[in-house]
Amino acid sequence: MTGPTGPYPRMPGGGIARRPLHFIILADCSGGMKGEKIQALNFAIADMLPHLAAWERDQEQAQVFIRAIAFATEPWWHMAEPQPVAELAWKPLQPVPKGLTNMGPAFALAAQALASGRIERRALRPAMLLITDGLATDPPGGFEAGLSALMTEPAGQAALRLAIAIGRDARSAALDRFIGDPGVPVLVADSSEDIAERLVAASLAVSRMSEAGADRGAVARRLLGAPADAPSRIFDQDTIV
């Protein structure tokens, strides 16, 4: 009888790894984003990533993977494959001339990526960050259909969803519906200069809210400026089927 072959690992199996945290950016690339806004957004995303990478190094549980969907009249994968945040070099987004702000198809595209069997069973709750400068321009029923497709997927429903509105006019009930948590406000960037700051706040919120046992309401109050009387959802979280 011969012994186990090869350089045998000390543990059975293919080794261990941190649990994946999938972070999907949904970036508005409609015509209204051209010029200074898209430049500011690209700068802000590139600036945000090191904050996420630093959190990844400091905490005890997750490995962060980034993907990005760009959307205008139609959505497309700007970064289709999950990229480890620590290794990611941001590829700038480009606006679509005269492109609309149809959000529903972008949600549906994200839903496909979060479908059962498409992400690891051991993955943590995904995080999604929607950034837009305008109101949704979906044809009737389009926004709802896309959001419904997302919420039909268990991972989509469980996802931590945040939104940044560039300009007060972009803040809308549609963004609140995307977030789906009255304790988590839409972050408003009043100007292009504010975008980077809001993205850092969002990334910090994503990281803190993803930690085991996190009180999302408390994080939202501390980092996102949620009102002090915003309801804490910690006691409402579904822990058992």
């Binding site: 009888m1 261990i16 085991a212």
Partner: protein
């Protein structure tokens, strides 16, 4: 490390089951000051061996889940030993073995709820705990929420029962492996079934396997901190192959320090970061 013997009446062979366990506090629990909320226990009786692991849910709603897990493995060992004695004495067939799994689940749910009630009588909720209970509008049993995985091994039968996440892996000598209980699609990695839910009995998955037909090289029970740390997806085939090879090659005592080390590594910041508990059962044949 503990051993127990079960005798196969048809061959006179004695199978000695060695039970090796390891449990480690998760790195995230360490960082947040939470204790290890897993529990593990085994019991050896005239009928066979029983092993149980449990994972207290950890969320603030389940603030007594470490107690819930400890109570769960305790009642599982007692109920499992009774089941083993019945199975061994009756020379049970397949139907009886299947029924034993269901009866085991029924007994464990009832006994766990009684044990929780007894503890609450002896140690009522504090003012702070009652505040959390009121805020979450939960029933008094919810704070004790825990999973439970139990294996009962007699000379002929492996009877298993499981509620909630975590994994059982039966490993054959050829390296093939299978889960001795059916899967549950509701376990999405974020929510789990639990002993504390109102319909806990219905959420139990049970299974019975004839060891004279399907002999095992090993049986692994683990809380979800183990599976969530595995890089492979699915991880079970390779773990099964490796365990079969380890079991064939190494002395059983080799596993003694290894299993706690595996639990420690899975619970670390390089793995799941979650509490991790492993129970490994290994058979060995001796003449009766």
């Amino acid at each position: 490390m503990a051993t127990d013997s079960t005798t196969d009446r048809t061959t006179g062979e004695v199978t000695t089951w060695q039970v090796i366990t390891g449990s480690a506090r998760g790195a995230t629990h360490r960082a947040s000051g939470l204790p290890n909320q897993d529990a593990v226990a085994s019991q050896h009786g005239p009928g066979g061996v029983v092993v149980a692991v449990a994972d207290g849910h950890g969320h603030i709603r389940h603030f007594r889940s470490a107690d819930g897990a400890a109570l769960a493995v305790d009642v599982a060992c007692r109920a499992g030993s009774q089941a083993a004695a019945v199975l061994a004495a009756d020379d049970a067939g397949e139907e009886e073995a299947e029924r034993a799994g269901q009866e085991l689940a029924r007994a464990m749910v009832a006994d766990w709820r009684s044990a929780v009630a007894a503890q609450l009588e002896a140690r009522p909720y504090t003012v702070e705990e009652q505040f959390v209970l009121n805020r979450s509008a939960d029933t008094p049993v919810i704070p004790y929420g825990s999973t439970l995985l139990v294996a009962v091994i007699t000379a002929r039968w492996l009877v298993c029962a499981q509620i909630g996440d975590g994994d059982m892996l039966a490993v054959c000598p050829d390296g093939g492996s299978f889960s001795p209980v059916a899967g549950d699609d509701r376990l999405d990695g974020r929510r789990t079934t639990s002993l504390c839910q109102p319909d806990a009995l219905g959420a139990f998955r049970t299974g019975a396997h004839d060891l004279s037909q399907v002999p095992l090289a090993a049986l692994l029970l683990a809380t979800d901190g183990y599976g969530n740390a595995q890089a492979d997806e699915p991880w079970q085939p390779r773990v099964g192959r490796d365990l079969a090879e380890f079991a064939a090659w190494y002395d059983r005592h080799w596993f003694g320090p290894k299993v706690p080390d595996w639990a420690q590594r899975c619970a670390s910041a390089e793995g799941s970061g979650d509490d991790t508990t492993i129970a490994l059962l290994l058979p060995g044949k001796e003449d009766g």
